[in-house]
């Protein structure tokens, strides 16, 4: 035993002489964020789930920013001034901005970024797919022409991260797809350091950033991939993590009200369970039948499942969204008599239908269960099938299922038409029940061209009414997001037009 | 006396009942003699043999006394008994193939007897193992030493067993049915070897067997055990030539009749030996005894001197007839 220890000690001694390595000491300037997943890519042109945005939003900057408390109010970022003149928008760019690799930011970067984004056509490109061309006027001025006049371009650009044209040119063979998948060079508040697959992405603070950090910002950020929700909760509570996203609601409420924590509440896009009904497959292809389901649905049960922290929607555009017509819409509530009448009219008593639910989302599953028991009161049988996401959406698209549960998302802070394009217009990928209405198509196309806000509001209400009256969707409830934040840190705010995410540059230690 | 056994009894508890397997036997073994314990299976002969070395099953209860070289063996702590097994008492068994560890070379198993008792270093013990193999007349002992048990013949294995039992130089060898599994020629060789080793090493041998043929060749004194009781004990010549106990006589007869020393030889006696817990009252042999009378069924025969032997029988074969007469 003694001999063995001696040998081990000797070996260690020899090794220590040869290698200099020391584990980084724990300090208050490191921020650990427990993210629910690992990015598939950190390419801003492809990022489309929130754990990818965690990285892209913090490394890159956008031309404009917006006020989280009033998303219709835009703020300067890489662009300091902008104006619209019909189809042409002109942006004046900020001086003295450099990328993390030291190269200067100018108009060429904007053009290269947008050209590349539209060519790839993935991720957030839908927000700016009405761009026709980008022109460099001078290094500090860029002109963007749209296919039709749109008032929302600047607002939508508040989601589009700016890359360096040098990087794009260097890797132009595949549009830089391979390189940008796992490398990043932005102008933003944090720099990309490393990506340990399966474990974490490390960022460090960019002290040359043009923006302003709070006092005592975090110098180092570790974006940890923690798959299990209970683990994120427990790690947050136990102090391993400084912040976590997608903490299960009951855990979040418990942790947020325990000592050493406070709750941050806000609106956000994540997981509003909306039930899509298949317009092409019996019995949901019958409008009266759909109306019966919408009226029978027990909205209260849904709100209660969110522990009261939810509201019942009245249409496709949530009430807090700039220009939302929701306040003028009729309240949607459970009306069993109305439901029975509608069902009688449809002549589909005792009908049977199938509902596909993407697995892994308890709220979605619960919404389907509520539908099942509500429909049962009408004598309608709902069979629930929980499947992996792609399988579930394929089932309704190929008419093997009558319904599908999903949240509707729109990353634009003020362009409501984006709620429609993916979900209610022809060819929209999440238009899983294949809704089609020509009037709606025309309205949505026309909306961005109207500069008068009141007039736009009127059209938006018309568009919303078309969807509401078709009974295509059951908007079950829109939960508020609650995030427990430790008292030792501050600065966390919820982006209403985003999935749950963190702006690391606003966070600080107390 | 190298060994003296007094009122030794051993039994087991089964389903709340005490089943006595060996019921108060006494005998002495003198230094240098070959003492044979003979009996059918279930007679308690092996239990007695094992108990001498302190190897009775841990679940058994024992009483009486077994003194080996003036040491009480019963109820002695196992740690102390272990010191005697090997250097003082050697044991060999029937079925040498199963009795040898199948995954160890034969030589190493022999050497272990020495190293485990700290009698030799590992290298020295190996050398002694080869010497022991030579001593038990194994040709090419080096090869056999490095062979595994399954690689050598049955006779060789038993010789190796003997070499292992004697490696540490014991004065008493307990041989439990050592020749049972062997064929006739090998058996004879083995008995001859034992006799030679006994002379060379001045051993005392306790031979446990059911085979009268073995007895005839080597025994100095004989103890006949029936159903946990002594039937007869005395000098080999006296017992072999003039068996007084009807059981012994029957054993002798069946040994004469059966040409092969196979297992049935004792079954030649009418009926079977009683099992544990089914011992009859009175003389335990009476249900099978041709001379049994009414007293045999109720009164247990006391042990008494009868010529040069001691026996327990109400109606012994008094007129000691020559063997030839008994046969006809």
């Amino acid at each position: 035993m003694k001999l063995r220890n001696g040998i081990l000690g000797l070996a260690l001694g020899l090794l220590m002489g040869g290698v200099s390595y020391s584990a980084f000491a724990d300090d208050a300037s490191t921020f650990v964020y427990a993210d629910a997943g690992e990015p598939s890519t950190i390419d801003p042109a492809k990022a489309n789930v929130n754990w990818e945005f965690t990285v892209t939003r913090n490394i890159y900057d956008r031309l404009v920013d917006f006020d989280l408390d009033d998303p219709s109010k835009l703020l300067p970022a890489l662009a300091t001034e902008w104006k619209q003149d019909g189809k042409v928008w002109t942006f004046k760019l900020r001086d003295g901005v450099t990328f993390h690799d030291g190269t200067a930011f100018d108009a060429n970067d904007v053009k290269a970024t947008l050209d590349r984004l539209l060519k790839i056509g993935q991720g957030q490109s839908y927000l700016v797919d009405d761009i026709a061309s980008v022109t460099v006027v001078d290094p500090k001025t860029v002109k963007i022409e749209t296919k039709a006049p749109t008032v929302f371009l600047a607002s939508n650009l508040s989601r589009i991260e700016m890359l360096s044209d040098e990087d794009i040119a260097k890797h132009k063979d595949d549009l830089g797809q391979a390189w940008f998948n796992e490398n990043a060079n932005g102008t933003g508040p944090y720099e990309f350091v490393s990506w340990t697959r399966g474990t974490q992405i490390e960022l460090k603070r960019n002290d040359k950033w043009w923006g302003k950090f709070p006092e005592k910002p975090f110098d180092r950020v570790l974006d940890r991939f923690v798959t299990d929700g209970a683990n994120r909760a427990r790690g947050l509570e136990g102090g391993e993590f400084d912040l976590a996203n997608f903490v299960p609601l009951d855990e979040a409420l418990r942790i947020g009200t325990s000592s050493g924590f406070h709750l941050v509440e806000g609106n956000n896009l994540w997981a509003w369970p909306a039930i899509y009904l298949n317009m092409d497959l019996a019995p949901t292809n019958n409008k009266d039948f759909r109306e019966a389901l919408v009226k029978a649905f027990d909205y209260n049960a849904m709100v209660q499942s969110f522990q009261g922290k939810a509201e019942v929607g009245r249409g496709p555009v949530p009430s807090w969204f700039p220009g939302s017509p929701e306040k003028e819409e009729v309240e949607i509530k459970t009306d069993l008599d109305g439901a029975k009448a509608a069902l009688a009219k449809s002549g589909l008593a005792n009908a049977k239908m199938k509902c596909s639910v993407p697995a892994g989302f308890p709220e979605f599953r619960f919404a389907a269960t509520v539908l099942q028991s509500s429909a049962q009161q009408l004598g309608v049988t709902v069979e629930i099938e929980e499947q992996p996401f792609v399988e579930a959406i394929t089932a309704i698209k190929s008419d093997r299922s009558n319904c599908f549960v999903l949240g509707n998302a729109n990353l634009s802070p003020s362009d409501a038409t984006k709620f429609f394009s993916a979900h209610y217009l022809k060819g929209g990928f999440y238009n899983s029940g294949k809704f089609f209405d020509q009037t709606l198509q025309d309205l949505v196309a026309k909306l961005p061209t109207i500069s008068d806000a009141a007039e736009r509001g009127k059209l938006l209400k018309q568009a919303a009414d078309i969807v509401v009256n078709s009974h295509y969707i059951i908007w079950t409830a829109r939960p508020k997001t609650v995030v427990p934040e430790p008292d030792r840190i501050g600065g966390y705010r919820i982006d209403p037009a985003e999935y749950i995410n963190a702006r690391f540059w606003e966070m600080y230690s107390k | 006396m190298i060994l003296s056994v007094r009122d030794f009894a051993i039994g087991f508890q089964r389903e709340g009942q005490n089943l006595v397997a060996v019921d108060g036997i006494s005998f002495d073994v003198a230094e240098g003699e070959t003492f044979v314990i003979i009996g059918e299976s279930g007679s308690g002969k092996s239990l007695t043999g094992m108990s001498i070395a302190g190897l009775q099953p841990p679940t058994a209860f024992v009483s009486g006394s077994i003194r080996f070289k003036d040491r009480e063996m019963l109820k002695r702590p196992d740690a102390e008994l272990r010191k005697l097994r090997g250097p003082e008492i050697g044991l060999i068994y029937q079925d040498p193939l199963s009795s040898l560890n199948p995954v160890w070379p034969v030589g190493d198993q022999i050497a272990e007897t020495l190293t485990a008792h700290g009698l030799a270093s590992r290298a020295e013990a190996r050398k002694r193992a080869v010497e022991m193999l030579e001593r038990v007349r194994i040709p090419d002992p080096r090869r056999v030493a490095s062979a595994y048990p399954h690689e050598i013949s049955g006779g060789m294995r038993q010789r190796a067993m003997i070499a292992m039992a004697l490696a540490a130089g014991p004065s008493l060898l307990i041989a439990d049915e050592p020749t049972t599994a062997l064929d006739v020629t090998i058996k004879a060789q083995m008995l001859e070897l034992l006799a030679e080793l006994k002379r060379e090493l001045s051993l005392t041998i306790i031979l446990i067997t059911h085979d009268m043929g073995v007895v005839a060749e080597v025994a100095d004194r004989i103890l006949v055990l029936y159903a946990g009781r002594i039937a007869e004990v005395g000098p080999a010549d006296a017992i072999m030539l003039q068996p007084s106990h009807p059981y012994t006589a029957a054993l002798m007869t069946s040994a004469m009749i059966s040409q092969t020393p196979a297992k049935q030889d004792l079954n030649a006696i009418v009926g079977g030996a009683p099992g544990l817990g089914a011992f009859p009252a009175g003389c335990r042999f009476h249900p099978r005894c041709p001379r049994a009378q009414d007293d045999c069924k109720v009164i247990e025969p006391p042990r008494r001197k009868f010529g040069s032997v001691e026996l327990a029988c109400h109606h012994p074969i008094e007129a000691a007839m020559p063997l030839e007469t008994a046969r006809s």
């Binding site: 090794l15 000491a25 797919d129 136990g238 992996p388 792609v390 394929t394 | -």
Partner: protein
């Protein structure tokens, strides 16, 4: 002889692997799912999705996809992961060491613990100790893995603060440079005993979860093997030589009990491979189990098939090694080939 045997087993192993590849390929495609939709993301247009399908060959007829997959496989190409956007072999190289480290540590711990318990239990079969061990191990096995893992986390991380919640290395510290991918080894290579101990601490709960879960079967099998060997005649011989019970146990019984125990534990290793997925998810262990779990969720075909092939290969190799080991353990097994 041995070479002929090896050749035969390798060919057989190859046949099994090809069968697994074929079966998993078709099983994975039977499910009507569209990984391209995942790649394209929310709000992507149908054209974009179709373009991605074409890029990844997902639009081609199934037999054609199958043929090109098998041709790639023959060249050692395990395909591309849609989720990580890297080649599956690159991913495996990254994730495999973490899993192997966990498996090896668990397996060694499992052998040691189950064998020690078996020795204690076999000393007096049916006794109080035997009964207690049986009860405790049965309870350990009866608890579902995820619940066991979370309970351990709850006590050792949340309540007692003794052990970390998950992962392989303390979050706020820098792991040693990757040489072997085994953190225990890499820590020592980097000359850091503290890093070594930290890695060990992170290994404790995941390994304990696996071990506790398999313990009942392992202990029972080892105990049975020991009890059977205890009644063998060579044990009587050993006692007759005056050997101590410990010497008899370790020098005689163990060697003989080894082959039945190894046979049983080989099967257990198979179970371990399947438990590892759950355990890695619970403990955020960045190994192939977590990789498999994440790939399953988005119908990332290539990693799923590759993992089936790799774990089958692992099982084939272990069985082969065991077959080669038997004659070493037990000289009576002359040649595995005959």
């Amino acid at each position: 002889m041995v070479i002929a045997f090896l050749l035969k087993r390798l060919v057989w192993g190859l046949v099994v692997l090809i069968a697994v590849a074929v079966i998993t390929f078709f099983l994975s495609r039977v499910v009507p799912a569209d990984p391209a939709a995942f790649l394209a993301g929310q709000n992507a247009s149908e054209e974009t999705v179709q373009r991605i399908r074409v890029e990844h060959g997902l639009d081609r007829p199934l037999p054609e996809q199958f043929a090109s997959y098998m041709i790639g496989l023959a060249k050692g190409d395990l395909g591309e992961s849609i989720r990580t956007r890297r080649s599956v072999s690159t991913d495996l190289k990254q994730y495999l060491p973490a899993t192997l480290e966990l498996l090896i540590v668990s397996f060694v711990l499992y052998l040691a613990v189950s064998f020690s318990l078996a020795v204690l239990a076999a000393r007096r079969p049916g006794g109080a100790v035997d009964g207690a061990i049986r009860l405790v191990t049965m309870v350990g096995t009866g608890i579902p893995v995820f619940w066991l893992g979370m309970t351990l986390q709850f006590f050792f991380f949340y309540k007692l603060h003794w052990l970390p919640l998950g992962a392989r290395f303390p979050i706020r510290e820098t792991a040693p440079p990757v040489v072997s991918g085994f953190l225990l080894v890499d820590s020592l290579l980097a000359g850091s005993l503290s890093a070594f101990l930290a890695s060990l601490k992170h290994l404790t709960l995941p390994a304990a979860t696996i071990v506790v879960n398999l313990l009942a079967v392992g202990t029972r099998l080892s105990r049975a093997a020991l009890i059977q060997e205890q009644s063998r005649l060579y044990v009587r011989t050993a006692r007759g030589k005056g050997l101590s019970p410990n010497r008899i146990l370790f020098k005689h019984i163990l060697r003989n009990a080894l082959s039945p125990i190894l046979t049983a534990t080989t099967m257990q290793f198979g179970y371990m491979i399947s438990w590892v997925i759950l355990v890695e998810v619970i403990f955020d262990w960045p190994g192939i189990g977590l990789y498999a779990y994440q790939s399953f969720q988005v119908f990332d075909y290539s990693p799923v098939i590759a993992l089936a092939i790799v774990s089958t290969a692992g099982f084939v190799i272990i069985n082969l090694v065991m077959d080669l080991l038997y004659p070493v353990i037990d000289p009576r097994v002359q040649s595995v080939g005959s």
